[in-house]
């Protein structure tokens, strides 16, 4: 007996991505307003910093005496929240640049959600192989490539802010623990770019089909 196929209709996906886009915009707005102290007690910024590890492995023998295991400590990520007593101390270029980099990550995610919504809207209208869709897939690929890079930049900038805090005791790592994300982002981006190229070929075939009388 043939298993019943479960097909998610483009209409469902279309409205799902629309809801995600709207939700993302709302979250971005709320997040920004809380940073500036509009919907919070006062201006603040928060972010992750990577702390230094000891790099040398800690050797732990197995209890049965049949060997041992090594633990490598490459540092860890810590969430730091900086509260500002007044707006002028908050309104500094380096803080604004950090917020720009951090929120750019959100903005890119919103762009991806919106482009997905537009693609599924076109699919819902049976408009599949069009140049417009190819452009949108390319834009998604670019956003996916930029996403971890902006995250990396934001963390580097936040590390610079934290390292200048008077009397801080954090042993900060020189490079944030994000390098793998950049590699994954680049690979995923290449895959999506390849998909866009396949879509472009599909568009050409569709055009030829449309112009065959």
């Amino acid at each position: 007996m043939k298993a019943k196929e479960i097909i998610v209709s483009p209409k469902v996906l279309r409205y799902t991505f629309l809801a995600l886009t709207a939700g993302g915009c709302l979250m971005l707005f709320l997040n920004l307003s809380s940073y500036f102290g509009i919907t919070s007690d006062g201006p603040f910024i928060r972010g992750y910093v990577s702390t230094q590890g000891d790099y040398g492995p800690t050797v732990q023998p197995l209890s049965d005496g049949n060997g041992s295991y090594k633990i490598f400590n490459f540092g860890e990520r810590k969430l730091v929240l900086l509260d500002f007593s007044n707006l002028p101390s908050f309104m500094q270029f380096r803080h604004m640049f950090y917020i720009l980099c951090q929120k750019m990550v959100w903005f890119l995610a919103i762009i991806v959600m919106y482009q997905m919504y537009r693609i599924f809207r076109n699919l819902d209208r049976k408009v599949m192989f069009r140049d417009e869709n190819t452009r949108r897939i390319r834009l998604i690929a670019l956003a996916v490539l930029l996403y971890p890079i902006m995250g990396f930049l934001a963390e580097v900038q936040f590390k610079a802010i934290v390292s200048q805090l008077p009397g801080h005791t954090l042993q900060l790592s020189s490079i944030p623990i994000l390098d793998q994300e950049i590699v994954y982002g680049a690979i995923l981006s290449l895959v999506i770019f390849a998909l866009a190229d396949v879509f472009r070929s599909g568009t050409q075939l569709q055009q030829e089909q449309d112009l065959t009388i």
Binding site: Q207, E208, L211, T212, I213
Partner: protein, 73 residues
């Protein structure tokens, strides 16, 4: 494109309108217009046969090859 479609010439010779030809060939006016204006990328043998039958002509009367300037000189 060096292939010229002379459907409009043959239609004028046979004093046939676009609508009449479209109904005889059984293709839409939009597609016939694409063919007439030279925007078409390909033509099916079936369509060509129907056009030749409707216009009482040969494929060579409908299609013509004109070499592009600067190509193969």
């Amino acid at each position: 494109m060096p292939i010229i479609v002379n459907v409009d010439v043959m239609m004028a010779k046979r004093k046939m309108s676009l609508t009449e030809l479209a109904s005889k060939v059984d293709i839409t006016l939009a597609n016939l217009s694409i063919l007439k204006t030279g925007k078409a990328k390909a033509i099916r043998f079936g369509t060509l046969e129907a056009i030749c039958k409707a216009l009482d002509c040969q494929p060579g009367d409908v299609l013509e090859y004109v070499a592009e300037k600067g190509v193969g000189e």
